[in-house]
Amino acid sequence: MKSRILDALGLSRAGYTELRVRRVWSTTVLVRGRSVEVATSGVETGGLVRCSSPGTGWGMMGFSGSDGLDAPVLRAHELSLAATSRVPVILAPITVRQHESATPLDDDPREIPLTEKRQRGETLAASLFGPDRRVVSGRILLRDEVVETWLATSEGTWVHDLRSEVSVAALAIAEEEGNIERALGSLALRGGWRAAETGERLVRDVAARAVELLHAAPVRPGRYTVVLDPAAAGALVHRAVSHLARPALPGADPDVLPMGTRIGPECLSVGDDPTAVGLRGTSVCDDEGTGTRRTPIVQNGVVVGHLHTRETAAAAGQAPTGHARAAGLRGAPHPRPTNTYLAQGSGSFEDLLDGIPAGIYVADTLAAEADGERVGLRSGAARMIRHGRLAEPVKGVNIEAGILPLLGRIDAVAEDFCWDGQRATCRDGSAGVVSVSTGAPHVRLLDVAVGEGYS
């Protein structure tokens, strides 16, 4: 593959050319109820060529397969000549590296027979139904994926990477006296097939949450002190902070948080760390071949950094941070978060609850969405806090607020930081979907408007 890629790259007449080929082997086992509905495997190969020359804009050509790489290289150059750019495409300089990390995988999921994967899915489904007859339906999605990436540029960068991930997603539907509730959960682990053995606990938790919701009362809308669990806090900072720390491409007027802006209290420190070990967004190099590095975004409430590609870094006069990420096989690199974290504070979870007469504990998030200046969090599992202790479950908790006002209501961050193991993804319009992780401790916010998400 290396010689084919380098030969094709050598044909380019553009000033800068980048050629990426990616191959994805995947297996999916879907168990609906107790029956295996799908056990299938797929292999996809494809990539992207990106070219620019002085006086032109970017030309890009995506392709499937890995035969005939010459044609997309030539086509990308043609397309770059059809593009125009008032500001020349300038890429911030990086260390040209030759990175080879495609060593054979331990416990390679591709070596495991489909029959064994099917059995694993059936075992997990059996755990979902367990002893509680109120769990009447559900779904287990067991998926493994091995991704091999080759990246070469006309500057001499060469990256070859091989990684694998196993994930389990569970849906449980519980029913009692006509009342139906559902709960969702997922787990994704980098590594070999044995990672799938850790899914049992997740599946039992999801079933238990669905049953618990049967007796949860709808939340009473009002203003509360809210405590977010680490997963919810991580989802909030991913959507409300790291998304706004990504400069758009040169010339655009993005909704980026300006450097030096205070967006929260002293206890709010947020960053993004693609070097954290074993997480979904972890990598040694990004999709432009830049070495990744941990990037502080907010320090003690003040914006101190942005997530950059080479192009956005050059426009901002900064160094690239290794956050150029391409979605799927044929996506172009855009500045995207990887593993976003809210840094730990001080004190325990119990300290956060202490003294709250009536509040809400958000223990899961179904969705975190942001639009312009507003962010929404919908809880999948929540409890009332009464007199400083967790009390009865409530459902339908929906928080909808301006991003900066909400961040300004953070008044305490605990010390119990942990990375969240869910199969989290970051969606961003035409830039596509990339895998991410989040990490945070428990967080307390004061005087938050909580609406009811159920009718």
């Binding site: 509905e37 056990a39 750019s85 008032r86 500001v87 179904l366 969405e369």
Partner: protein
Amino acid sequence: MIGRLLDALAGRVTAADAVVKTDDTITLSISPDGDTRVAGARSQLSHLRVARQGRIGFASTTGDEDAELVGRAMAGAASGEALELFLPAPAPLPAVVTREPQAATADAEELHALARALYERLTRTHRRVEAWAERSTGSVQVASTRSVLAGYEVSVAGLGAVVESIGAESAPPCRVHYAAVALPALRDVERLVDEVSARLDPPILTGAGAIGSGPVYLAPRAVAALLRPVRAALTGYEALLGRSPLRGRLGEQVFDRKLTLLDDPLAPGRPGSRPIDDDGVVSRRVTLVDRGVLTALASDLLVGARAQVPSTGHGWRMPNAATRVGLTNLRMEPGTEDPGALLGGLSRGVMIQDLEWGGGANPLAGTVVLRAPWAYLVEGGLIRGRLEGVTLFGNVFEVLNRIAAVGNDPTWVGAQELPSLVVEGLTVACDR
């Protein structure tokens, strides 16, 4: 390739079918400062399904490795679902426009002219505009061991923009788009421009007071978002075997009598148009809801076999997926009142131009929470201004039983043709 695939399976399987899709796309985008970018993509997907010893297996690839694809499909069948699958026999294909030569051959220059026309018409002081134009062309081939061998050529052209109003009258991104088999004409460009003006021009209102749960006017783009739970409830496993509120209710009055929904793969030149589905089932129009009565649920061969009902021709094949049931072109029968008369009937209410779909507490059951950044206060039939911070709560199935009026303005929004609606039963919360 498709013939070779099935030849390789001769004598080894009970039945098999395959789909090969190719696509060649060019996208040209204009950034807010007027720079252009051009991206192209060529792709191929081969999807194979086999039935062997009473079990079903699938595999897909983006390459040309026939033997490897066959091997993985056979392995899938060894572990797959136990199910008897009946493949359709060959049948004449209906005539339907799925490709338009000018769109299929449009180059970057033609796309640039389209995107530039939209960009320039939308550009104003205090606006940030991004525009794009796209065309894709390709083919779909379907074959099976029951001698089905069919194919058709496709093209889809798209034009769209994201417009933000900046400064004192700031607004969230306003997204509009056109999609059809043919390139957009000038009137289509003007329609997008008018839509942006209708959303951005009204002044922002503050202190509008409580809105409550009065009548809500939904423009076609907002109707498309509201229908998402209904589409899910009408389609596939959930509809026929799962937790859809419509399951088992064929023949019942499930919606207001003013509502008629039709899935129409034979609508000429629309994104979902096709003469045959990916299972080899010949396409036909299917009335899903007739004056509020549930008349059909969409299925493909696989879900149909599980539920022991015939396929309605809604099979799709996607990369790395088994099969998927999905609608083609969803059309809602228009009413008789023009949009002006619908608005005139509102003494005090809200008009929603578009909705942000954010899921819901239980979307399949229809309970939704929808943010409405494009909401307008209507008093005495006149639009007073844009409301900020509006969220809609309600149950879509209950709302569609309380349709006050259906407009006579059917408008294509992607692969859906929808009129405006006036509905009751949605709670409107406004936090500004």
